[in-house]
Symmetry: C2
Subunit: 202 residues, 2 copies
């Protein structure tokens, strides 16, 4: 008896992206309810935004958009029942956290680690640019922080640049984004559409 | 016996805005199902975008965003069961159509008129900059086109500028947008959230 492959969905996220936070907190449960497998794909928005001529987050460059987003985050997080605190540093400098996530993708702890990083940024206002922050997150997950930070800088972490280039090649221009094959969905509101697409195309 | 006021929702739209089209086609039915009254509020995105430093639609300025949007429109319209054809002229020059809509707001035919204009732009690839197009839409609605076009230029149409300024004052930066009191929701995906907000705040 042959078995149909399990439908899968790629979740493209950046730790500095506000709207990626509530998605990170719910995507695994939501996808599991539909038997869809999620591939967590961290990338950096910096190079994506640079390609669009922006040297800062559009939420900083366009104040009306930014004011809306912070209010919207309050509403969304309240509705989802997750804590939210507007971070003092925005956008967070996320490169170290993302390199560590690449290591977590190899080892299988990327999802809980990513949720912990988002909580640090958007609920606890911690500075993820500081290695101590990442070390404490890894320690809380009972992981060997020293070894992982080393691999993040010299091993799997080096693939973050390729993954970011892969995001750009797929037409990704913001986060969160979801891909199912060549189909792209942008924004947390489209998560269910992406899951449905994964189900229909399997 | 006092009666509770009916919950209301302001729907801010621009005839050149692709994502406003599927919303225009479904908002009245969706709101009616929740007993929410919709105020149709046409405005112009041109001055809004100018204030953000854009002299063209962001879908033209940022090609990845534009490519995504056109594909997304196909998917959304297919799912909603409405026709879609990518217009050759984008963004549509919508000022006349919007001035006529202001007249329709006074007279009570703004909703069917607006749906007809969106169908002209996004399903029939008609040029709404041409007065003939607007005249034929009005005639199809059994309205006096000559008289209305006159009022659009010299009467109620003059309030379009104020309405656009009102949109900017409310923090609106794109279309479609929805407001319930001071609460702003941006994007077709947030229509149900806006309806729910209107229900909860009445």
């Amino acid at each position: 008896m042959t078995q149909k492959p399990s439908p899968t969905l790629d979740f493209w996220y950046e730790f500095a992206s506000p709207y990626s936070y509530p998605v990170a907190m719910r995507i695994d449960a939501l996808a599991k309810a539909s038997n869809v497998t999620v591939n967590w794909k961290p990338f950096l928005l910096g190079p994506v935004f640079s390609a669009q001529g922006w040297q800062d987050s559009p939420f900083n460059l366009y104040p009306a958009k930014g004011a809306y987003m912070w209010r919207d985050m309050e509403r969304i997080c309240q509705q989802q029942g997750i804590p939210f605190q507007r971070p003092q540093i925005f956008p967070a400098r996320s490169v170290l956290a993302a390199k560590v996530a690449m290591t977590g993708a190899s080892d299988g702890w990327i999802a809980p680690y990513s949720r912990a990083v988002y909580t640090a940024v958007f609920a606890l206002d911690m500075d993820i640019f500081r290695p101590e922050t990442i070390r404490s997150i890894l320690a809380d997950l009972d992981l060997n922080a020293a070894q992982i930070l080393d691999r993040a800088q010299t091993g799997e972490g080096a693939h973050l640049r390729q993954q970011t280039e892969g995001a750009i090649k797929r037409g990704i221009f913001g986060a969160p984004s979801f891909t199912v094959g060549a189909e792209l969905f942008w924004g947390g509101d489209r998560l269910q559409s992406a899951i449905n697409w994964a189900l229909d195309s399997t």
